[in-house]
Structures are given as structure tokens and as C-alpha cells.
């Protein structure tokens, strides 16, 4: 079979077929981890309200992320202890960048 075709498995059957650019570019799923605090939008960190080791409650404001001229409050997805913080006030962050980890 022509090498332009790749193996493609549906219900345990291996089909020979081509794939599309869009299919090849699909994003891998990384799971929903409530302890991993990421930037939901690109922007700048305006304030960090917690320090490593601090006990936080679910819903507590962790930091302020300014984007689209709005100051967005980033809150804790779960209660726990702030393990590490990867950003400081003034940092520019990109979308999905990891900002903080809660354990």
C-alpha cells in the first residue's frame, strides 16, 4: 500500500487512510487538575496575594491577572496549601501558562 496512507484504528480494526492537517494538530488533553493554576487568557500579573506554604480555601483569590483591560481575579480551584508560585507581579504570561500549584 502507498506510503501516503497511515494506520487508523476504529473499534479494533486498522484502516489505511490519510489524515488531515487539522486532525494532526489536535491538542492533547492534559486532564483537569484543580491544583494546577494556569492563565486562562494571556496577560500580565498585577498582584500575587499568597506565598508558598499558605493554606488556601477553595474560591480564595490567589492573584490578579490583567488582560483585555480587565483585572481578573484568579481563584483557587480547591482547598490546600500553596506549594509553588512560578510568577511575580509584573510578569507577562501566555495562555495556559502554569502560574501556581496547590496541594
Amino acid at each position: 500500500m502507498n506510503e501516503q496512507f497511515t494506520d487508523f484504528v476504529i473499534d479494533d480494526t486498522v484502516y489505511k487512510t490519510k489524515t488531515t492537517t487539522k486532525y494532526n494538530k489536535r491538542k492533547k488533553f492534559n486532564g483537569f487538575d484543580k491544583g494546577r493554576v494556569s492563565a486562562f487568557i494571556p496577560g500580565a500579573i498585577r498582584n500575587v496575594f499568597v506565598q508558598p506554604g499558605k493554606q488556601v480555601k477553595q474560591g480564595e483569590v490567589l492573584l490578579e491577572l490583567e488582560a483585555m483591560k480587565m483585572k481578573n481575579r484568579v481563584t483557587a480551584g480547591m482547598s490546600g496549601v500553596v506549594k509553588s508560585i512560578f510568577v511575580k507581579t509584573g510578569d507577562n504570561v501566555s495562555k495556559d501558562q502554569l502560574l501556581m500549584v496547590i496541594e
Binding site: D11, T13, K18, T21, F29
Partner: protein, 514 residues
């Protein structure tokens, strides 16, 4: 004033607004590698058929020095004409007049020609080449857009609406094309987006070129906003002419009937479909085996290529074809292919174009990305569209028709009038491997040689279920037919369903899974 002097006055006015403007436009557009509004309209329409209206329109804007500005035609040319003998209403924005920006007078010229198209029951063609809203006119410019969108929606399903993107089409302006039936784009000329690269950079800090963000290729392959892609404006105009020949003038007329032509003799179904059901082929070759003159006008060729949609003729009459494409992603249904087919089916139903469905698919595409992208509601669109359609519906199972995919592809259960299957058809709840692994799980795991047992069970299942006869025995298939008889069966079923009437409970409208 004597009649003679009135005539002189008229010709001099016309010269200023039309001839001189056109000459200046030509110089400016040529620099951008683009044709002028007039050249575009004249290239699409039959020779000398264009009649222009509202040449002397004037805007009433006063702010920001607009009261001193005269904009010929207010930046848009409107009129009527013929495309290969079919009457159409047409407008073309002129990028060289205030950047083709849309003010109230400009918009009212467009809505006027749109109202004409609906009243006269003829297709509307809109050529977009505009910088967007005319900022100096403020909220009046927004009103203009809104009035256009409203008419696009009211005209939807009544007359065919075609949008041609031949320049920038940004911000709110993109929503008129999005509301129309077919969007044509040209490589390196068409640009469509809601927010441009500059805004994206300022707000999000992400850099992207206009071409990568909203060029013709992006909308043809990735977003699915465009339906026809061309390398040049001239090629684009030829595509428009061909499409117009396939579709009716309005929802109460039939498309033009053409002389009957046999398919070309070098296309033979038995030579196209491989014996093994896991080996791909191009479903478009099957269409060429069946259609008059082997002629097929494909729609959205580059988007969601795992399903093929388009128009062909059978006995000279237009038919809409939907076919799974085993060549791409094994022909699975997914979010994009369901959207693509669902919308096409609804177009055909709205304009009384019978549907031919060619089935060869292993099912829906598995994946987290698909589930999270809403394959449930998107996949439902194809079920909705087929069930809702009351035009003659003919289905041919070429090879695999497994599981949910079998139901979705215009099965008997969704109201197909005629379902045919080739002897190579496999209509089953899933493929033999998957089925054997589930049904005979115990036997396989407990066997001394699980692989040998699996092979044996797969073989058993294949023998028993991977054929069209279980479905035929249940009456879900109307006839199993030999490949060389297939065209004859399709022609006959179209012939006898020509006066099909299917009444549905009265309702305001359904609620399709958007």
C-alpha cells in the same frame, strides 16, 4: 433647459460618477492585484446583461467633514443581470471609494437589491471588498449592517445567496457572508476575521499574519467558513457560473434540466472499490461512475475532507450528493464533517434538490478532543437534517455501514425513500474485530491460544454479519444490487419520486442542535 442640454448634463454627470470613477478604481485596484467592482460584475454576468441602479445615490452623513465629501455610488455598485441565462441580483463593494466602507446609503443600496432578489425570486450575489464600518457615520453604519443581516436571514431558504470575498471582510461585515449559502474565496486576496492581527497582538500578545489568521486557505481548510477556493478571481467566477447552473432560482422552482449524458466509460464501480474493507479509495470516483457525464461540482473540497458533498446531475436533473470518504480519516463522522453535511442537506431540502447518500464509514471518530468539542450536538445535526428533509432521499451502502454511522447516513430509519446496497456492503453494529472482541471476550481470553481463537471468532462474525443480507432480511435495505445496475436503480427511484409529498406536523420551526 432644452432636452439637448438636459442630455448633455446627464451624460456629464454619468461620466463623473461612473466612467471617471471606474478608471480611477482600475489604477488603484491593479496595484493591489485586484479587479474593479465593474470588472468583477461584468466577468460574472453574461456579456452586456448588467443593468446598474442607484448610480446617483448620495450619503447624508455630516460629521467629521463628511458633508463635504462626495463618494461615487457611495462605494458599492448594484444591479441585475444574467449568469448563463439565469437572472440574478448582484452587488459589488468598491474598495477604492472610502475603502469600500459601509455607510447607511451604501447599506441601503445593498438592502434594496436584496429586497428585489426576494421579490423577484432570483439568486443574490454579493461581492465583498471593504474595510468595514464607515466610522464617521457611527451607529448608522451599524444599523446598515444589521439591516443586511436581517434580510440575509429572511431570504435564507427562499433564494440562493452567494457571497464572494475579494478583499478584506472584517469585523461585523463577515456575518453577512456567514448567513448566506455559499462563500467563495480567492487565494491571497480574500481576508476574513472578526478581530484582526493588530487587535490580537495588542490584547493577547500573540503575533499572526493576516493570511494565517483569515486567509482563503484558512477558511477553506480549517474554519470551514468558505465553500469554494480559487487561485484567481477568474477561476472563482467560473466556479460561481457553474454553481448557478446547478441550483434553482428560488425555493418554488426546480433547477434547470440539462440534456442527459451517460457517465464516462472509464469509470467502473467494481474497479474503484477494493475487496478489503480496510483499504481506502476515493468516493468521488464512485460519484463519477454514477453521475451524468461523470461531472461533479464539489462543495467545501478542502474542509472536513472525510465527507464529500456537492452537486451532480442524473438524467439531466440536479442532485445533492453526500458521501463518506474512505480516503480521509477512513471516512468517519466527526464534528466538522457533521456540520458540513448537515448544512448541505438543509440547503438541498430547502431548494427541493433530491439527496443521494453514499455510505462507507466505520462510525464516529473516537477522541477526547471530539467529545469536548461537542461531537454529540454536532453529530446530531446530520441526524436532524436527514430526518427533517422531505426531498427524495436515496441511500446506497457501498461497503461499511457500522453502528451510529449507519443510522446517521440517511438510513431507512431516518426516512430514506430507497436504500440500496452493493453486495460488498457490510451493515452491522460494528466492525468484525471490535464485535468479536466484545461478544467472545470470555472464549478468547480463556482459550489456550487467544490469538487463534480471536481470529476464528472474527472470521465467524464476518461470515455471519459483515454483509447486506441481515439488514435486507429486516427490510432495512430495499434492494441489493450489482454495481453495474446501480445507476439504473438510482435513475428509476428519482423518476418515480419526482412528485413525492411528505407532510409533517405544522410548527413554527424546529430546534436543530446548532
Amino acid at each position: 433647459m432644452s432636452l439637448a442640454s438636459r442630455l448633455i448634463d446627464f451624460f456629464s454627470k454619468k461620466k463623473t460618477v461612473a466612467d471617471e470613477t471606474d478608471a480611477q478604481s482600475k489604477v488603484k485596484q491593479q496595484k493591489l492585484g485586484k479587479m474593479t467592482a465593474r470588472e468583477r460584475i461584468e466577468s460574472i454576468l453574461d456579456e452586456n446583461s448588467f443593468h446598474e441602479y442607484d448610480l446617483f445615490i448620495e450619503h447624508k452623513a455630516e460629521d467629521f467633514g463628511m458633508d463635504k465629501k462626495f463618494l461615487p455610488r457611495d462605494g458599492v455598485m448594484t444591479g441585475t443581470g444574467d449568469i448563463v441565462g439565469h437572472p440574478v441580483c448582484i452587488y459589488a463593494q468598491d474598495f477604492t471609494i472610502a475603502g469600500g466602507s459601509l455607510g447607511l446609503a451604501h447599506a441601503r443600496k445593498i438592502t434594496k437589491i436584496m429586497d428585489h432578489a426576494v421579490k423577484l425570486g432570483i439568486p443574490l450575489i454579493g461581492i465583498n471588498d471593504s474595510g468595514g464600518a464607515r466610522i464617521q457615520e457611527g451607529v448608522n453604519s451599524l444599523a446598515g449592517y444589521g439591516e443586511i443581516f436581517y434580510r440575509n436571514t429572511i431570504a435564507s431558504g427562499v433564494i440562493p445567496q452567494i457571497s464572494v470575498i475579494l478583499g478584506p471582510c472584517a469585523g461585523g461585515a463577515v456575518y453577512s457572508p456567514a448567513l448566506t449559502d455559499f462563500v467563495f474565496v480567492v487565494d491571497k486576496i480574500s481576508k476574513m476575521f472578526i478581530t484582526g492581527p493588530e487587535v490580537i497582538k495588542t490584547v493577547l500578545g500573540e503575533e499572526i499574519s493576516m493570511e494565517e489568521l483569515g486567509g482563503a486557505r484558512v477558511h477553506s481548510e480549517i474554519s470551514g467558513n468558505a465553500h469554494f477556493f480559487a487561485e484567481s478571481e477568474q477561476e472563482c467566477f467560473e466556479q460561481i457560473k457553474k454553481l448557478v447552473s446547478f441550483i434553482p432560482w428560488n425555493n418554488s422552482k426546480k433547477a434547470e434540466k440539462f440534456p442527459v449524458k451517460q457517465p464516462k466509460s472509464n469509470y467502473v464501480i467494481s474497479n474503484v472499490i477494493p475487496k478489503e474493507s480496510t483499504v481506502p479509495y476515493d468516493v468521488r470516483d464512485i460519484i463519477k461512475c454514477l453521475a451524468d457525464d461523470s461531472d461533479f461540482l464539489e462543495v467545501q473540497e478542502h474542509f472536513a475532507a472525510n465527507i464529500v458533498i456537492g452537486f451532480a446531475r442524473f438524467n439531466g436533473e440536479t442532485i445533492g450528493i453526500v458521501g463518506n470518504q474512505p480516503m480521509v480519516l477512513a471516512g468517519v463522522l466527526d464534528v466538522d464533517s457533521s456540520d458540513k453535511a448537515g448544512r448541505f442537506i438543509r440547503f438541498c431540502n430547502a431548494f427541493s434538490i433530491p439527496l443521494l447518500t453514499l455510505v462507507d464509514l466505520p462510525g464516529y471518530l473516537p477522541g477526547i478532543d471530539q467529545e469536548h468539542a461537542g461531537v454529540i450536538r454536532h453529530g446530531a445535526k446530520i441526524l436532524y437534517a436527514y430526518s427533517e428533509a422531505t426531498v427524495p432521499k436515496i441511500t446506497v451502502v457501498l461497503r461499511k455501514a457500522y453502528g451510529g454511522g449507519y443510522i446517521a447516513m440517511c438510513s431507512k430509519h431516518l426516512g430514506a425513500d430507497f436504500v440500496f446496497a452493493l453486495p460488498s456492503a457490510e451493515i452491522a453494529v460494528m466492525g468484525p474485530e471490535g464485535a468479536a472482541n466484545i461478544i467472545f471476550k470470555k472464549e478468547i481470553t480463556e482459550a489456550l491460544d487467544p490469538d487463534a481463537m480471536r481470529k476464528q471468532k472474527v472470521e465467524e462474525y464476518t461470515q455471519k454479519f459483515a454483509n447486506p443480507y441481515k439488514a435486507a432480511a429486516a427490510g432495512y435495505i430495499d434492494a441489493v444490487v450489482a454495481p453495474e445496475e446501480l445507476r439504473g436503480h438510482i435513475l428509476h427511484s428519482l423518476h418515480i419520486s419526482a412528485n413525492k409529498v411528505e407532510n409533517r406536523p405544522a410548527k413554527k420551526h424546529g430546534i436543530p442542535p446548532f
